[in-house]
């Protein structure tokens, strides 16, 4: 229901906003413009309200929770002392320099490590998959469908699946003819998580890149070929730049996703395993032991980290989805101004 409202509001907003902006130049009355602006605000307000409710409020509530601690000590008869206590930033300072600092930096390192290794691998493999799927050959539909199968399996299920593969007498060891203890706490566990994660999410990148590939007109390639570019040259100088917007969006999505990875390592290796413990797992552990304040602090730190990574990614690589739209309106305005000048002249 809300999504319907949201969609309607968004559509109205999209229709209303430019008109409002255009109004002053368009020679219409100022009162009319103000009315339209008011209408726009009115039509947008359900969207904003919903956003504030489902995003703004939880973020603030989570932050607020992270400033409190409760139920720590026991009284004489063994009952937990009730009540919430304001502790300011204690939960945060504890994360960075208190007892839990070791666990935090370990989880932070794991999260970052998984993020970079899996996203890089996924990108390479995903682009490869997209190039294969893009080719015209017999049985292409079958290949496309089978490549997408891993993405269709719920993460928890694929976690179980890989646990069977990686168990001591499982398929992985049978294939390698080795006795590697993948699901014990150690570096093989990290590798197991990376393999399972890449297996599951490469198709996602492949899918988005494929969509990008199909937008490239055929004659661009033809022209490059006529000009004598080799296959490698064509890939680097024609295909990759043209598919870049789609690829960057895909990578950004994966980055944000893997930074909050939880269920795969939890199911595949288990909770409380130092080698695969991520920030979400640590927050979950705190919450399940009733330390909601510190859990909220972990979650807030992770939230800031994710926001930072996303910001850097957008800034450095220019995966600016909204920015492009902004560019377009700017361009349209410039054109209009030029046209107006021409008319005045």
């Amino acid at each position: 229901m809300t999504t319907q409202d949201e969609r309607a509001a968004a559509a109205n907003a999209a229709a209303a906003a430019p008109r409002g902006r255009r109004a002053p130049g368009g020679g219409k009355g100022g009162g009319d413009a103000r009315g339209q602006r008011r209408l726009a605000a009115l039509l947008l307000s359900p969207t904003l309200l919903v956003l504030a409710l489902v995003i703004g409020y939880p973020v603030l509530a989570g932050f607020r929770e992270s400033l409190y601690a409760r139920g720590e000590g026991l009284d004489e008869s063994g009952f937990v002392v009730e009540g919430t206590r304001f502790v300011g930033f204690d939960n945060y300072t504890a994360i960075f320099s208190g007892d839990p600092a070791g666990a935090f930096w370990n989880a932070f390192g794991n999260t970052t490590f998984f993020t970079f290794t899996t996203v890089i691998l996924e990108t390479v493999i995903g682009v490869g998959m997209a190039l294969i799927m893009h080719r015209a050959f017999r049985g292409r539909a079958l290949v496309r469908a089978s490549i997408l199968v891993p993405w269709a399996i719920p993460t928890a299920i694929s976690g179980l699946l890989w646990r069977w593969i990686f168990q001591a007498d499982g398929a992985a060891n049978a294939l390698l003819r080795q006795q590697i203890l993948w699901t014990a706490d150690g570096w093989p566990a990290k590798l197991a998580v990376i393999i399972a994660e890449v297996w599951k999410t490469s198709p996602f990148i492949g899918l988005l890149v494929l969509a990008g590939l199909q937008m490239i007109p055929r004659d661009v390639h033809e022209a490059a070929r006529v000009d004598g570019a080799s296959a490698v040259q064509r890939f680097w100088s024609v295909t990759l730049p043209l598919v870049k917007p789609a690829l960057l969006v895909a990578v950004l999505f994966r980055l944000l996703d893997v930074l909050r990875m939880f269920d795969l390592p939890a199911v595949l290796i288990g909770v409380n395993q130092d080698s695969v413990e991520t920030l979400t797992m640590i927050a979950w552990f705190e919450a399940s032991n009733l330390r909601y304040g510190s859990a909220a602090a972990y979650a807030t730190v992770l939230f800031v980290y994710i926001a930072l990574i996303a910001y850097l990614f957008v800034k450095l690589l220019g995966a600016d989805i909204i920015g492009e739209a902004r560019e377009e309106t700017k361009r349209a305005k410039r054109q209009k101004a030029r046209r107006r000048k021409a008319v005045q002249a």
Partner: protein, 435 residues
């Protein structure tokens, strides 16, 4: 009193939703947190909150109750399979002070946490027939000498052993000590059919199972992780001897190298494939390993005995479930009757027959008809009688995580036994300190 809305800290960026559910708990003014025994009043419909009922027996028992008590019907609320998720949902219900849950089916290790947080109603001992129950199981329902829960099922580890292999090696009795067990292994090893067979297995993967193995090993050596006075006691020679048993067994290769990855079911697979001489395992494996449909290669070839110890019979960990009444529920008089009904001899007998879950009523273990169907009952009874509970701690989640960490580090050789135990002692002291 200032109203403090308890608000869930679900953090966007879709991190995770901390489950504290909406604005519920404004502080209650009456101060009685429903912990006194006199407050068991009110009759009417109630709910029973439990994990999945796979056998369908629970529904049968509820139907029996409901037809006899048409005005006090019980509705079952089934929680997820995962024990941790069950605990989560019960805690969520308690922190919002909801009356949706009446009777709770608690794992024995949750009693302290739930009681200390005032989430349970204290139960009147004179109105429940505790004398028919195994004393060890009744203890698991107490917190600080007050009764908060009634045991409904129990569980204890037993030593599964390959009778056929021991017989061939000329051994007629199951081992009572570790030494006898290793000696038996040495003899069995010489047999032709024992080529791919490992000597012994108890769970040492980094999970709750590790805590259980530690409790058993340290208990068998005469120690305790948290002593009877509530103080951590792993800086003792007994604790060291206990942990060393696990470390040596793994180091020497008496346990398979894969032991640090095998969970309960993995251990069962290992035993059923005929790859173990001795195994510490729960009773549930008995009928599964005796299945003659080809799923088990050891059907009819094994038997059970009490766990061995360093100088005589060892100590088992005590598992099981207890029934408790939520402090925030209504119709507590009905709830008490229902708890008595479900923990009564007849209900437990039916339950044992339908689900093979160990009862807490002592007499059932000596019932000839039941013993015929479940030949391990006498062994299990003595295991439960000598069993020791896992550490009683309000912060049980943290305590068990610390024990797992120390045990795993020692078994895998990451930390010497002394160091692992010293670290554990320090951590447990912080966790159990009374502020």
């Amino acid at each position: 009193m200032r109203r403090i809305p308890r608000i869930g800290g679900a953090v966007a960026g879709a991190v995770l939703a901390l489950s504290l559910a909406g604005c519920g708990g404004d502080g209650d003014g009456d101060g009685s947190s429903g912990t006194s025994a006199e407050s068991l009043q009110g009759r009417g419909p109630i709910t029973f909150v439990t994990g999945k009922d796979r056998s369908g027996n629970l529904q049968k028992q509820l139907d029996g109750w409901n037809s006899e008590h048409p005005d006090e019907k019980v509705r079952v609320i089934e929680l997820p399979d995962e024990p941790n998720e069950q605990r989560q949902q019960m805690i969520q219900n308690a922190t919002t002070k909801s009356d949706a849950y009446t009777v709770l089916n608690l794992d024995v290790v949750w009693t302290a946490e739930f009681a200390a947080n005032r989430w349970l109603t204290e139960l009147p001992e004179d109105k429940i027939d505790l004398s028919t129950m195994l004393p060890a199981t009744v203890e698991t329902g107490r917190y600080r000498d007050r009764l908060y829960a009634v045991p409904s099922t129990s569980d204890a580890g037993m030593l599964y052993y390959r009778e056929d292999l021991l017989e061939k090696a000329g051994i007629s009795e199951p081992p009572k000590t570790y030494r006898q067990m290793w000696d038996a292994c040495a003899k069995v090893e010489r047999l032709d059919e024992a080529e791919d067979v490992d000597c012994f297995f108890t769970e040492v993967n980094k999970s709750e199972s590790m805590t259980i193995s530690m409790v058993e090993a340290i208990g068998s050596a005469g120690g305790a992780i948290i002593g009877p006075d509530g103080k951590p006691a792993v800086n003792t020679p007994q604790a060291k001897q206990g942990l060393e048993f696990l470390v040596r067994a793994y180091e020497d290769g008496r346990m398979p190298k894969s032991a640090i990855t095998l969970d309960t079911e993995g251990g069962r697979r290992h035993f059923q494939e005929g790859r173990l001489v001795f195994q510490r395992q729960w009773p549930y494996q008995y009928s599964l390993a005796n299945e003659d449909d080809g799923s088990s290669e050891v059907a009819g070839k094994f038997a059970v005995a009490p766990l061995p110890g360093p100088d005589g019979p060892g100590v088992s960990n005590l598992g099981g479930h207890n029934l408790a009444i939520s402090a925030f529920a209504e119709n507590k008089a009905t709830a008490l009757d229902f708890v008595r009904y479900l923990t009564g001899a007849q209900a437990q007998r039916d339950n044992l027959l339908a689900t093979s879950q160990a009862p807490t009523i002592a007499a059932l273990y000596d019932d000839p008809e039941l013993v015929k169907k479940f030949p391990y009952l006498p062994v299990l009874k003595s295991a439960i009688e000598n069993a020791t509970p896992r550490p009683v701690a309000v912060k049980y989640g943290d305590v068990t995580a610390a024990i797992q960490e120390a045990g795993y580090a020692a078994v895998t050789g990451d930390a010497p036994v002394d160091e692992a135990l010293a670290d554990l002692q320090g951590e447990l002291e912080t966790l159990t300190a009374q502020k």
